[in-house]
């Protein structure tokens, strides 16, 4: 265990040191992370105002709480590695990682955690700004606020593993841009990123319940907003756990099958 913690520690340090060289790039990412929730909140606040103060039980303050919580959760469920693996595999860059006696996933874990740590610099001012502009309404009991922590961590783990399993598609097809796009589009609708799931048509909600995406966003958001009962939260944490197990199995299977097809091109 200390072995992995040590590897992560060094990888996190190296990643932050490398990215810190690109200050303008980091600034642009920061602004990007800020702009999106501002747009969502502006639109939904306007919709709520136009509907006489609320939409299906969501007031402007509820929307603000929802999307501010979603901003926090989305920060901790960031994953981009499925975009990198196409390059790693197609250009043979994966070879260098395969020569080392540690599974390539661990370097990605280190880089992912490093990004989330570093971009707290962007998240904190974003949350403060959104709170000041949009006045969120939180009715969160203390136990729910505490339950948010495991819900958030499990959401992050699930998002990482699902994304990593997706990245393995690059072993079978050399162009996975379309697959990634499909994944993120489904995420957009079925995780509650576009709108709280309660506001979507019933058929969407049924689909969302069968898919893993809501456990990566909507569930932890509702925990933080204090909208769920203890039973719901316990059940939700278990569902997250089960989806994580499924994702782990998918990662294992896709990796062992995929690596046999790797042709280590280049060099």
């Amino acid at each position: 265990m200390t072995f992995y913690l040590n590897v992560y520690r060094v990888k996190i340090y190296n990643s932050i040191a490398a990215w810190s060289q690109y200050r303008v790039g980091m600034l642009i990412y920061t602004l990007g992370e800020m702009v999106e929730p501002i747009i969502y909140l502006s639109v939904w606040s306007a919709v709520a105002a136009a509907r006489g103060g609320e939409v299906n039980g969501f007031t402007a303050g509820d929307f603000a709480a929802y999307f501010i919580s979603a901003t926090i959760v989305r920060h901790f469920t960031q994953i981009w590695h499925m975009y990198q693996y196409e390059g790693h595999i197609r250009e043979g860059r994966l070879s260098m990682r395969l020569l080392r006696p540690v599974h390539p996933i661990h370097e990605d874990i280190g880089a992912n955690v490093a990004y989330k740590m570093m971009m707290l610099l962007a998240l904190v001012p974003t949350i403060i700004l959104l709170a000041l502009l949009f006045h969120p309404t939180f009715n969160t009991p203390l136990w729910a606020a505490l339950a948010f922590i495991p819900a958030l961590i499990l959401a992050g783990v699930l998002a990482f593993l699902s994304g990593w399993a997706l990245a393995m598609a690059a072993f079978w097809t050399t162009r996975i841009g379309a697959i990634n796009q499909t994944y993120f589009t489904m995420m957009f609708f079925f995780s509650g990123q576009l709108a709280p799931l309660q506001l979507l048509p019933a058929v969407f909600q049924s689909a969302a319940n069968a898919l893993p995406f809501r456990w990566m966003l909507n569930f932890p958001v509702e925990v933080l907003r204090g909208q769920l009962t203890l039973n719901d939260v316990a059940g939700g944490l278990m569902a997250q756990g089960l989806w994580i197990v499924a994702a782990l199995l998918a990662v294992r299977l896709l990796w062992t099958q995929g690596i046999k097809r790797y042709t280590a091109v280049g060099g």
């Binding site: 072995f3 040590n6 590897v7 520690r9 060094v10 990888k11 340090y13 190296n14 040191a17 490398a18 060289q21 690109y22 043979g92 860059r93 070879s95 260098m96 395969l98 020569l99 080392r100 006696p101 540690v102 046999k260 790797y262 042709t263 280590a264 280049g266 060099g267």
Partner: protein
């Protein structure tokens, strides 16, 4: 037990072929033409611990494919392969801990940060204790003279400097078996020499097994006691480099100089070049003594030298041999 053992090792790639043009691209959507390429075709050899073997062949011969199978990057199609008693394709941690593959055109080091920071990651990954890591780093940094370079971001280094840092990074875990794929490619003469000396020193100090591919004959001559020549996926020769020269080049080059015009020398051998008082001849090895004696007797020469043909010529001849001519020493 040999350090490296391969027997009838084969790798077949299936590639999809497509001609140029839009028509061919569209047809390719519906129907793809496949072709099997035997990159490595039932090759066999053993390498003992501590040997340095030069692995030669023209581009596309199968050298890099073989090294990739030996280092576990590729699954063989068929055949036996074992390195230090392990099956490379299983990529067990204990196996990877003992080998290194250095590819001249690939980077392990992170671009934006000093090499020493990347080394710290290798230290963590290879579980190197602090003192042996530091000792190895100091020893190798001194040998290659990179103490100052490792604290600069890698992107600020020249190609030669970067390659030296890459090689040190690849050997920090003191592997027992080194696979070096064109380690000196693109480097200047001094850098090439430093790296050659470094590999020799490493081999001596650690009794490491080295398999080296290079297109620079100077690398092969300086380092490899034994060469394996591969072409079209098959082994053409496996033995001492000197025997390769003997076997495939039956000639020697004889250069003579005189005060006066030398005249017609075709009676002594094949005249490669002649301008008045200086000439170069190609003579069969078994006739060299006789020809030299006759030249010295019949002409007044100021200088005479007999040398082996440049090894590049010999290798080129070997590479130009047809597929059917697999010869083993």
């Amino acid at each position: 037990m040999s350090a490296i053992h391969i027997h009838k090792l084969t790798k077949i790639y299936t590639i999809h072929e497509r001609k140029a043009g839009v028509g061919a691209a569209v047809r390719g959507l519906l129907q793809r033409q496949k072709r099997d390429v035997r990159a490595v075709d039932a090759i066999s050899f053993d390498v003992e611990q501590g040997e340095i073997v030069g692995f030669l062949g023209p581009n596309g011969a199968g050298k890099t494919t073989t090294l990739k199978m030996l280092s576990g990057l590729l699954y063989p199609t068929s055949g036996e392969i074992s390195v230090l008693g392990f099956q490379p394709s299983r990529r067990q941690g204990d196996y990877l801990q003992q080998i290194a593959l250095v590819m001249g055109q690939r980077n392990q080091l992170i671009w934006d940060i000093p090499a020493v920071d990347s080394y710290e990651l290798f230290r963590a990954i290879y579980r190197l204790p602090a003192d042996s890591y530091q000792r190895a780093l100091d020893e190798m940094s001194d040998l290659l003279d990179i103490r100052d370079l490792i604290r600069k971001p890698v992107r600020n280094l020249s190609l030669g400097e970067r390659m030296k840092c890459e090689i040190v990074g690849a050997l920090l875990h003191q592997p027992k078996v080194l696979f070096l794929d064109e380690p000196t490619i693109g480097l200047d003469v001094t850098a090439q020499r430093r790296i050659r000396e470094f590999i020799q020193t490493y081999n001596r100090r650690h009794n490491a097994t080295v398999m080296l591919t290079s297109h620079y004959m100077a690398d092969v001559e300086a380092l490899a006691q034994r060469v394996v020549v591969i072409h079209h996926g098959k082994i053409l020769f496996d033995g001492q480099l000197s025997r390769l020269v003997e076997r495939f080049s039956p000639h020697k080059t004889l250069t003579v100089r005189s005060d006066a015009d030398l005249g017609d020398l075709s009676a002594y051998g094949q005249v490669i070049q002649q301008n008045g008082s200086e000439a170069t001849l190609r003579v069969l090895k078994n006739e060299i003594a006789a020809v030299t004696a006759r030249l010295l007797a019949n002409l007044s020469l100021t200088d005479l030298s007999v040398i082996d043909p440049p090894i590049e010529e010999v290798i080129e001849q070997v590479f130009n041999m047809p597929e059917s001519a697999a010869v083993e020493a």
